[in-house]
């Protein structure tokens, strides 16, 4: 008998000749996204933010204002430390103005804040995806008591008021490395949402003809999982992870906003917004700039995830 098990089903469309390869290739997704102005704009903005984050030390060396350098000349002590000049001290010297009271450069802090946000969000996404896929597939593939135990644990974690609990844990834990703690805590409460989907899809895949065919032809468990099931989960994983990143950027910023995120003086967008609360009436720019960056970053990632989903859905329907 031939080993060419049918990949997916008749839906797979062109390019479905090789076993187990989903119809949605990275190139096809990229091609479709290029024709969508919202997706292009989002990608452009994200590229800019990532570039700013990566080159932050270089750029601050050029401008001469580090994220924690005080600039007494840029603020007016007579006005309670408000930035000099209009719009929160926006000038050629300080592109996005300065913080009230200490005159730290907002531009530099935004760039360094982007590093923190992206690092934490991407690490948390990687960790949740890993946990979600492993536990979801274990539950879906083996069923029985493994499924029972994993499903109960997921129910338990999802019943937890995660925000309250995250804050409570983070505030009572010793300060240590806040970034790592944030990633761990976010992931522990985040993986069940992904695992639930993976479990469901694995359950249906396990009973599909091509998996049964592979099993009947003596494929090992490892081969079944990595060659038959995992490739078929790919498109939904791509969508879920792209949508998880903005979620975690928001969570990190929220926790930092509530004062349990990264510890000062390390800048973070959420923390910047939190410290701007007492100033927003007199220095709205101090609040608007990190707020806008946070909003646009989350929006861009969401738009991108949404469009990728549309493309993969269309790919499956064709």
């Amino acid at each position: 008998m031939t080993t060419a098990a049918p990949s997916r089903d008749a839906k797979a469309g062109p390019g479905a000749g090789t076993p187990g390869v989903p119809a949605t290739s990275g190139r096809r997704i990229a091609g479709a996204l290029l024709h969508d102005w919202a997706a292009v704009l989002s990608t452009g903005f994200l590229a800019l933010v990532v570039l700013m984050a990566v080159c932050a030390p270089l750029i601050t060396a050029l401008t001469g204002h580090g994220p924690n350098d005080f600039d007494a000349a840029a603020i007016d002590t007579n006005l309670g430390g408000l930035p000099r000049g209009s719009l929160g001290g926006v000038s050629a010297e300080h592109l996005f103005g300065v913080e009230p009271q200490n005159g730290r450069d907002v531009f530099a802090r935004i760039m360094y804040g982007a590093r923190v946000s992206f690092l934490i969000a991407i690490s948390a996404t990687v960790l949740t995806t890993l946990l979600g896929v492993v536990f979801g597939m274990l539950a879906g593939f083996y069923g029985g008591w493994a499924d029972q135990v994993i499903s109960r644990v997921m129910d338990f974690l999802m019943a937890f008021p995660s925000l309250i609990f995250m804050i409570a844990i983070l505030s009572s834990l010793p300060s240590g490395n806040r970034a790592v703690l944030l990633v761990v805590v976010i992931s522990v409460f985040g993986w069940p949402y992904l695992a639930r989907v993976v479990r469901g899809q694995t359950l249906t895949l396990v009973n599909r003809e091509f998996v049964e065919a592979a099993r009947a032809s003596g494929a090992s468990t490892g081969a079944l999982v990595f060659k038959e099931i995992l490739p078929n989960l790919r498109s939904s994983l791509i969508v879920m992870t792209t949508l998880a990143v903005p979620g975690y950027i928001g969570t990190e910023a929220g926790l930092s906003f509530l004062g349990v995120g990264v510890t000062p003086p390390t800048p973070s967008w959420g923390q910047m917004i939190a410290s701007s609360v007492s100033w927003y009436a007199v220095d709205p720019m101090y609040f608007a700039i990190p707020g806008l960056f946070l909003f646009l970053t989350v929006l861009s990632l969401t738009v991108l995830g949404d469009r990728i989903r549309a493309v993969t859905d269309a790919g499956e329907a064709s």
Partner: protein, 329 residues
């Protein structure tokens, strides 16, 4: 039915017990000695010992946990003799900060959280489902594209950013609304409405956007169903076709999601309440965390988990009433 319910309730109790145990364990292990904290700065070692005995902190972990659990159902006594303090049935202990009964604190603040949740829910259901419906019916038009674009945008604004932006525009610049403060309905309906308006809008925005997208997707899927073609082939009036045959199948799944979202909100809208200074359960949670007030943290965690798991069961029961295909065995 009775067996099903019994099973569900057993599962519910088990999960709540686990949440209890887990929370207690973490705060027992992680927190600094509460006795030192209660005692304050001018404190003698004798006084600390006294407080420890009073609260049972000198007991082993499981004894303490058992005392906590039995206090929930049967009440418990602190101290003895003349100093005896009785804490009646749902005993969640006393706040380390204010010495108030935690149960009474919750009863005090729940109405505020409920007001926030109910008002926001009404807003987001009306706006979200309305916009989603219109979008679905006008699929592909400029209205649809604009609404869905706005929905993506609205869902991307972190609620504290929206809260501050709204406050800046409505309170500082336009001065349409007064600075938000905790106002009771008895202080005057208009003032009450004004002070809750911003929290409602802030909380509802994200959900409304989500529900608009969800409604649109569900309605479009339903309109493509074969039974819609049947309904049209029967010569029914379009209004009846839409209302009876499309809306019910499209909106039924949304009740599940709504039930869960609403239940979660009853446990306190932490960020919104904190930003607007509303004395609800959410703000109580934030305050207790900031001050490491363990009995209160424990109570709000438990309360929120309670709403979530009970909400889960209620939603399942309601769903069996709404979808004839789902019947309890």
């Amino acid at each position: 039915m009775a067996r099903y319910l019994a099973g569900r309730i057993a599962g519910l109790v088990l999960i709540l017990f686990m949440v209890c145990l887990f929370t207690y364990l973490i705060f027992f292990k992680l927190s600094p000695d509460p006795a030192v904290m209660i005692c304050g700065k001018t404190c003698t070692p004798e006084r600390i010992l006294q407080i420890r005995t009073l609260l049972g902190l000198d007991q082993p972990f499981f004894t303490q946990f058992w005392d906590f659990l039995s206090g929930l159902f049967a009440g418990r006594d602190y101290g003895s003799g003349a100093n005896l303090i009785h804490c009646p049935a749902p005993c969640l202990g006393y706040s380390f900060q204010t010495s108030q009964s935690v149960w009474e604190m919750i009863l005090d603040r729940l109405p505020v959280s409920a007001t926030v949740a109910v008002g926001a829910a009404v807003l987001w259901l009306v706006i979200g489902i309305g916009a989603g419906l219109l979008s679905a019916v006008r699929e592909g038009t400029w209205w649809d594209r604009t609404t869905m674009g706005l929905a993506l945008g609205g869902a991307s604004i972190p609620n504290y950013v929206l809260a501050l932006a709204l406050q800046y525009v409505l309170v500082v610049k336009l001065q349409i609304l007064p600075f938000p403060s905790a106002v009771a309905f008895s202080d005057g309906p208009l003032l009450w409405l004004q002070s809750y308006l911003m929290p409602w809008i802030v909380l509802a925005t994200g959900y409304a956007c989500l529900y608009a997208r969800l409604t649109r997707a569900n309605v479009i899927d339903t309109l493509a169903e074969n039974f819609m073609r049947t309904a049209r082939s029967k010569g029914l009036a379009p209004v009846l076709t839409m209302r009876r045959h499309a809306l019910r199948p499209a909106l039924t799944p949304i009740t599940t999601i709504f039930g869960m979202d609403f239940a979660a909100l009853l446990g306190g809208a932490l960020i919104t309440e904190t930003v607007f200074g509303l004395n609800g359960v959410g703000k109580m949670a934030a305050d207790s965390i900031a001050k490491n007030d363990q009995p209160v943290i424990m109570a709000v965690t438990l309360l929120a988990a309670f709403f979530v798991v009970v909400g889960n069961v209620v939603v399942d029961l309601v769903y069996t009433g709404l979808d004839p295909r789902v019947r309890i065995r």
